[in-house]
């Protein structure tokens, strides 16, 4: 238990001389309490899991494009393996890539640095959070290798498919998967508490609520959304685990249970979850766009309040996932209205970002390209969502590839584009060196163009009636036509191209850590506090007692009138 003074005693703590003390290997890499190292651990774990999830996508897309073919590096995909691959791809991308990288890694790295604190308020709780997360990642990987294979009941794990081993065919895998998800939630619960308390109590002297950078706000709002929504899902997960292992009948209609109940418990969490990962990503864009447009963020307060409004609204949309599950049509109307309403704050945010760009001196650096492509791609995801949110259209489109293409147009910008934007922007602060700009540009265009080539065809196969959960379309006369198969092959080829382009990123990332050009303290001439610390940060703690910042203004003072340079850092009087 941390002592109450810990949070705001950075000065005193540092004065005792252990500010920049040399840390041992285990202190630094195995059991760190320093927020920067924990952030890197989260980021690295998330990236490794992303490689696995990308490989799974490759395997099942190859099966869909060339059914029955022996997939290179994998072999023939059996129907059970296919289910398992799709399930693991989805759950890993959401729970073990988007969550740890966007919330945990960027939250841990940015919150203390941006608010001028030396560490989180509860550093040891933070370490425990990562250790629990690592345990959950190990658990989910173990689940792939148990008899019967990894869980194959889709990441939404609807009962009765997920509840009974004779349906899911994965007696051990499904319980291990549930346990892994539960442990992971405990990890993010601890992390989220830490974020909120740190942002409230450890801000630099003079930093008022409206001087806090948007990304810090949004990660905290996302943490609150997560903590408010995860309870009912944990309740449902325990009930499902009991159905699997103890023979209870919570979701078994034959014995008085209710299978739709799970869908409500799951989506009460599942839909806010979309905004849990969206808010950090859109917050990262809010940091990058003013820097590379050299212009003050347009409408700081409007963006902040729309973020809060999005969070509140996100709790009232979940039943749009049950339009065909037999809910009352009058109820469906209510949820159609709330679902369409939530596009208003998001659209407002997009307009405010475009207004920030207007009249700015825009520099198309790699982080800026990622941030702008985030807005472009997410917009497509949002617009196609309107068709699915309207209960009438959804009855036709439900569970087709239109849905798959839609949510990939939201999740891909969030989990992949948002991460690349953040990593390329803060790379000089993370590792003290620049990333290679040329390789970054090639990687950007290769990734974004091939991403669009994957999912635009899938909108059309979905409209033609491709159901999501089909192993081999050649078994269906009206779907196995050459026109549709050609689109599926196009999507698969684009996926392979996109995955190959990621090799470039991995090379650039690792090479730049060791051999990149050395970066100064503030390479982008940005105003926020993280750019006042030395770029290759030594040891535990971010500032010396003398350089500890005080805050005099808001975070986005670019093109500030009456100054020699065009920006006015938060800590400069």
């Amino acid at each position: 238990m941390s002592h109450p003074e810990h949070a705001h005693a950075d000065h005193g703590h540092a004065a005792h001389g252990d500010h920049h003390h040399e840390m041992s290997f285990s202190e630094k890499y195995l059991f760190p309490t320093d927020h920067k190292y924990i952030a890197k651990q989260y980021m690295l774990t998330g990236m490794i899991m992303a490689v696995a999830a990308g490989f799974f996508a490759y395997a099942f897309r190859m099966q869909l494009a060339f059914p029955g073919m022996s997939v290179p590096f994998f072999g023939v995909v059996s129907p059970t393996e296919y289910n398992s691959l799709v399930t693991q791809h989805g759950s890993i991308m959401v729970f073990w890539v988007a969550m740890p990288v966007l919330i945990a890694a960027f939250g841990n790295f940015l919150i203390p640095l941006m608010i001028g604190a030396d560490d989180m308020v509860f550093p040891r709780l933070n370490r425990l959070s990562y250790q629990l997360f690592l345990l959950s990642a190990i658990l989910v990987v173990v689940g792939w290798f148990v008899p019967g294979g990894g869980f194959g009941g889709a990441w939404t794990s609807y009962p009765p498919l997920s509840a009974k081993a004779e349906y899911s065919l994965t007696p051990a895998g499904s319980s291990i998967w549930l346990a892994a998800v539960a442990v992971e939630f405990a990890a993010f619960l601890l992390g989220g508490i830490n974020f909120v308390v740190t942002a409230m109590n450890a801000r630099a002297p003079g930093m008022k609520w409206h001087d806090v950078p948007i990304v810090v706000w949004f990660i905290c709002i996302a943490s609150i959304l997560f903590m408010a929504s995860v309870g009912p899902l944990i309740a449902g997960a325990i009930m499902l685990l009991f159905d699997q292992q103890l023979g209870t009948h919570f979701f078994d209609p034959v014995a008085g249970g209710d299978p739709i109940l799970w869908q409500h418990l799951f989506w009460f969490f599942g839909h806010p979850e979309v905004y849990v990962v969206l808010l950090p990503a859109i917050g990262i864009c809010a940091e990058i766009i003013p820097v590379f447009a050299r212009k003050k963020l347009f409408g700081y307060r409007a963006i902040l309040y729309t973020g809060i409004a999005t969070g509140v609204l996100s709790f009232f949309v979940w039943a749009h996932h049950q339009f065909v599950a037999g809910i009352d049509p009058r109820m469906a109307n209510v949820f159609t209205i709330t679902t369409v309403l939530i596009s208003i704050p998001i659209a407002e945010m997009v307009f405010l970002y475009i207004a920030t760009l207007y009249g700015g001196s825009i520099k198309f650096s790699v982080p800026m390209l990622w941030a702008l492509s985030f807005i472009f791609c997410f917009l497509i995801g949002g617009v196609t969502g309107i068709f699915l949110g309207a209960s009438g259209a959804d009855i036709y489109l439900h569970d087709t590839y239109f849905v798959v293409a839609h949510f990939h147009y939201t999740f891909y910008p969030i989990a992949i584009i948002g991460t690349f934007a953040g990593v390329t922007h803060w790379f000089p602060k993370l590792f003290g060196r620049y990333m290679d700009e040329k390789l970054g540009q090639i990687h950007f265009w290769g990734t974004v163009l091939s991403f669009n080539l994957i999912f635009i065809p899938l909108f059309f196969t979905g409209l033609a009636g491709d159901h999501r959960r089909i192993y081999n379309y050649n078994n269906f006369a009206e779907l196995g036509t050459p026109d549709l198969q050609w689109l599926r092959i196009l999507a698969t080829v684009a996926l392979v191209i996109m995955l190959i382009f990621q090799v470039l990123f991995v090379y650039n990332f690792i090479n730049s850590i060791f051999k990149g050009k050395l970066a100064p303290t503030n390479p982008w001439k940005a105003t926020t506090l993280e750019w006042t610390t030395p770029s290759a940060q030594p040891g535990h703690g971010n500032w010396t007692p003398e350089t500890m910042p005080s805050v005099y203004r808001g975070p986005y003072e670019y093109s500030a009138p009456g100054r020699d340079d065009d920006f006015h850092p938060q800590n400069v009087p």
Binding site: P4, L189, I238
Partner: protein
């Protein structure tokens, strides 16, 4: 716009920035956020129970044993008394006389769990199990989850007691620990109303 003199930011002539002083102590916020998550968790359990219950024409389902309403009402009073004792301990903490009421709160909490366990043994004998019906399953799930929280709360009280004896218990830590116990206690009448009545 170009001719206008740059607007003078009044903060340019700044007073010394305020020192970092938290409005609410970190331990207390952390505990409040955690309790909020717990409230949502129990909200999920109770609403699942309410929905399942509404699917049945009568509840408890026919052939299932009745729950001991009166004995549990007494037990509820014991648990509420323990919260009162803990409140007293909080008030007396500054004067250094928190020891006796804290022990009393622990004793009352311990009595509650033991009485619950005794009740469970009887119900299992009467044939109410997790597999016998969704009624039994929800009963053991919700009441059992609460019992685990009472045990965790007793663990918190034991830790508080140890720190108090060592003279290292800060006011904020004591407040955070008490908030958890108050949550566990105040939750129970709600569960009693939804599950037993």
């Amino acid at each position: 716009m170009t001719d206008a003199p740059p607007e003078r930011d009044f903060r340019l002539v700044h007073p010394a920035p305020r020192a970092r002083r938290p409005v609410v102590p970190s331990e207390v916020i952390a505990m409040l956020v955690f309790v909020f998550t717990e409230v949502m968790f129990f909200g999920g359990l109770v609403s699942a129970h309410t929905i399942t219950r509404s699917n049945w024409p009568m509840w408890p389902p026919p052939g299932q044993p009745r729950l001991p309403i009166e004995a549990t009402a007494v037990n509820t009073a014991v648990l509420l008394a323990s919260a009162g004792l803990l409140w007293l301990a909080g008030r007396r903490h500054v004067e250094g006389r928190a020891r006796a009421p804290l022990l009393g709160a622990m004793a009352a909490g311990g009595f509650f769990v033991v009485a619950q366990g005794y009740e469970w043994v009887g119900l299992v004998r009467e044939g109410l199990t997790m597999q016998s019906s969704t009624h039994g399953a929800f009963f053991y799930l919700i009441v059992g989850t609460h019992a685990l929280h009472v045990l965790a709360g007793l663990g918190v009280l034991v830790a508080l007691r140890a720190r108090l004896a060592a003279g290292r218990l800060s006011v904020d830590e004591f407040t955070a620990g008490r908030i958890f116990w108050y949550f566990v206690v105040v939750l129970w009448p709600v569960l009693y109303w939804r599950v037993y009545l």
